[in-house]
Amino acid sequence: MRFSTLINITKEDILEALQDVKDPEIPTISVVDLGIITGVDVNEDNFVKVTMTPTFSGCPALKIMENMVKERIELLNPAGVEVTTNFDTPWSTNMISPKGIEGLKKHGLAPPEKHNGLVQIEILEKVKCPHCGSRNTTLKTPFGPTLCRSMHYCNECLNAFEQFKPVD
């Protein structure tokens, strides 16, 4: 017999469950691997508090993702869930996990390169092509189909591609 309220939910349970919540625009990366879950707290009464941070301030998917996170955690039968968004831990592309990087590649996106805290905008110029690996590429525009992507062209394999652009 299962007394759901007596089972203590752990932080690990929540992070594991949130692997199921994907970026609505990039279904191959979870919100955890994207690095936007900045805090998880479960108190002794099994009340869960999750803190998120936006990738871009103007990201329209934020509210949707908050709801998706809440609904997924509710499946764990907590006493309650509160999801808040703040800028206490500002997101940067360095927060994307190695698994997240693989997820971006799987979606055909060039992953952002690691930076040392300050993005030099020049690193957009010679982005590695996700199709053939060449760096002989040209930035077409720093703005793409969503705020977090830029558009490029590969001079070797003659394919257009998108990059998940680096942000500090």
Binding site: F56, S57, G58, C59, P60, N86, F87, D88, P90, W91, S92, V119, I121, L124, K140, T141, P142, F143, G144, P145, L147, M151, K165, V167, D168
Partner: protein, 256 residues
């Protein structure tokens, strides 16, 4: 931190002017959606609009935490006289060269402002500033690229960019209209001052304009267009606000 009445007025006015600039110029940028001269420019102006309006929203949320109305009410129900935005932001989009030059001049000032605000004593704003400066880097990159390209492309594009610079420069100087509360802001460690921002801005735009072979109007001819920070606006703002808030005002209580 507890602020006295004057300090609170100073802070609110400061936040309003920053966010209002972003909302108004953001909306103007959005008017390029579907009209850009290239599809990439259509996307660029639309993306920049989305960034700026999103950024304005989070500053309005700080204002809300200080006792002002919620972000949507602030954005969509005030009349022109309540807006603290500069005139540069509210002019109609005009031709592409005008909108591009406006963005160039505005984005640099905005980027430097948030760099200066990264260490502000107003903690909520400091967190946003750190976030925004990284986003705005893409806005300045966009404008720099096109200003340099078009400044040097051919006679016509050069002439049009120079004309656009001449038309927007005094308006851009209006960004730096000082507040009567500048002293309070400085004493509280919130902001160093518009004069310092303007100086840094000139230093930032000069090399790019030189690379574009464009000439900043002679300093003796500068006539900053002030008034926006005090609620005096051009005839262009009110109709824009009418349009911007039209849907919201149909049913302010609607859930989106």
């Amino acid at each position: 931190m507890n602020y006295n009445e004057t300090q609170l007025i100073a802070i609110k006015e400061f936040l309003y002017k920053i966010a209002d600039d972003q909302l108004i110029i953001g909306h103007r940028n959005s008017e390029w959606t579907g009209l850009g001269p290239l599809v990439e420019e259509d996307i660029a102006f639309s993306s920049i609009a989305q960034d700026k309006i999103g950024q304005a929203q989070h500053i309005y949320e700080i204002l809300h935490s200080l006792g002002e109305a919620d972000a949507d009410t602030i954005a969509f129900t005030r009349s022109a006289a309540d807006f603290k935005s500069c005139h540069l932001a509210e002019y109609p989009i005009g031709e592409y060269d005008f909108s591009l030059m406006r963005n160039f001049l505005f984005n640099h000032a905005e980027k430097i402002r948030f760099e200066m605000l990264a260490d502000t004593s107003l903690e909520q704003l400091g967190k946003l500033a750190k976030k925004y400066r990284g986003e705005i880097k893409y806005h300045t990159m966009h404008a720099d690229t096109w200003v340099k390209q078009l400044g040097r492309a051919n006679e016509e594009s050069h002439a049009r960019m120079q004309t656009a610079l001449n038309e927007t420069f005094n308006l851009a100087l209006g960004i730096f209209e000082e507040s009567e509360y500048a002293g309070e802001l400085k004493n509280m460690g919130i902001f160093e001052g518009e004069d310092i921002l303007q100086q840094k801005w000139i230093e930032a735009i000069t090399p790019i304009l030189e690379a574009a072979t464009l000439v900043i109007p002679d300093k003796n001819t500068w006539q900053p267009v002030y008034g926006g920070r005090k609620g005096y606006h051009t005839e262009y703002l009110e109709p824009m606000l009418e349009e911007m808030g039209e849907v919201f005002r149909l049913d302010p209580k609607a859930e989106w």
